[in-house]
Amino acid sequence: MHLSFMKTIRAEQLKLKRSPVWLAFFALPIISAFFGTFNYMANQGVLKSEWYSLWSQHTLFLCYLFMPALIGTYCSYLWRLEHLRNNWNSFLTAPVSRTSLYVGKLVWAAIMIAAGNIWIYLLYYLCGKLCGLPGTPPEESIGWIIGGILGGIVICCVQLTISMVIRSFAIPIGIGLAGGIGGLMITNKGLGTYYPYSLYCMGMHANNPQMELDIQAFLIGCLFHFLLFSVISVVCLRRHE
């Protein structure tokens, strides 16, 4: 299991080699950071919580609307080769377990989420300093990033399942966007932990950096959706002809 798992990660790495897909994770947070900082500077009369306010300006729309769709793009890309021509046959006849095949893709999606979140944090720090904010970002901001990575991995599981089942590259991205917008409504109702697309924003504290997050409920929500969609994916893969 261990060896085959490493082989699939290596195989996925080869598939992604020289692909410009990471550029989207690099570019979109820059746009968000630029406008978020601009908005923060223009509304300092209302946004008085310094680093906290800047964080919400940087992440609110990115987390709710664009990251789910962006993760959807990445996951679609991870399945793109399999959907081309007869590649499913060679994919499924690889001498590794179906679970390993899935884990290989999930690991790369998780790596991209982690890298994307670290990039968002770096931009936040740089923009805060450029705005002349005193000191450093609050200590709990590290927790926001970790929460975001966990929530992001859950969205990866959902989108990997959708992109595996739907052959189209575009439709899962639309579902990601719709899911993110749905997350806005559901989080507002206080039901975010039951809805996978809300977990990323909740973990990131995008709506309100000073809110008290029920860590236990959040982690259970993440674990439940992670297991649910991973199991669905592996079962679908095992039944795939």
């Binding site: 746009i31 968000s32 679609s76 590259f169 575009a170 991205i173 639309g174 966007l177 719709a178 917008i181």
Partner: protein, 250 residues
Amino acid sequence: MKTLLLEFYKIKRRNVWLTMFAMLSVQLLWGLWAFRDPKDWELQCGWMSLLYHLSLLDGIMVPTMMAVLASRLADIEHKGNTYKQLETLRSAGSLYHAKAICGCIIIMLLFAVQFVFFILLGYALGYEGNPDLKYYLLSYVLKIASNLSLFLLQLALSMFFANQMVPLVAGLGGSMAALLLMFVTTYSFLPWGGNLSAALVMSEWDETTRISTYFYRAFSSVETAAVVCIFVWIVVFYAAGRILFTRREA
């Protein structure tokens, strides 16, 4: 005409309609959620607030929707590697033209459904009076125009790049640019700012009374130029896409 009919035949069972209406249904659900339990002052200006919020919602969602639509129309040719074969049957230009018209018809129907639903919602909520037909029709026409320009941009990208990731990320970036533009300006010459420039209703938020005032926009000359720019983009994107496509080696 035959080429156009064939385009519709190609998208049969490809769930293009379903995808578009699924994305539209998110807007409809949002409408049901956001406009529930209106207060008295909201009932008075309900029809104007509907137009205002539709512009915001479309500005955010539609660039990605158009990217998805264009990608669905184009990727069948990429997947089947059908360009050379199709060129032996009809000119590349007419194929491109058929795809553009097909997308345009879908857009017109999509937004007709959107308008009908929101107008019905307005009546169900008990908004005072009737929708101002002149403004609603004008808004519909401008919405078609601004979203057609985005669709043509996305179609050009989707037909040019076999890897659909590129146009879809462009659409996503466009959605983000559109959203962020809303915070800083009331018009934009960028293609993704079309929904913003074409918005007929503006709003002012009174912090003390916590009431929004809606009013029909008096277009300044620069704002009018931004609206005209939408039509310029349509011509530019159609021409550029067609030229790129006809000169493309399959």
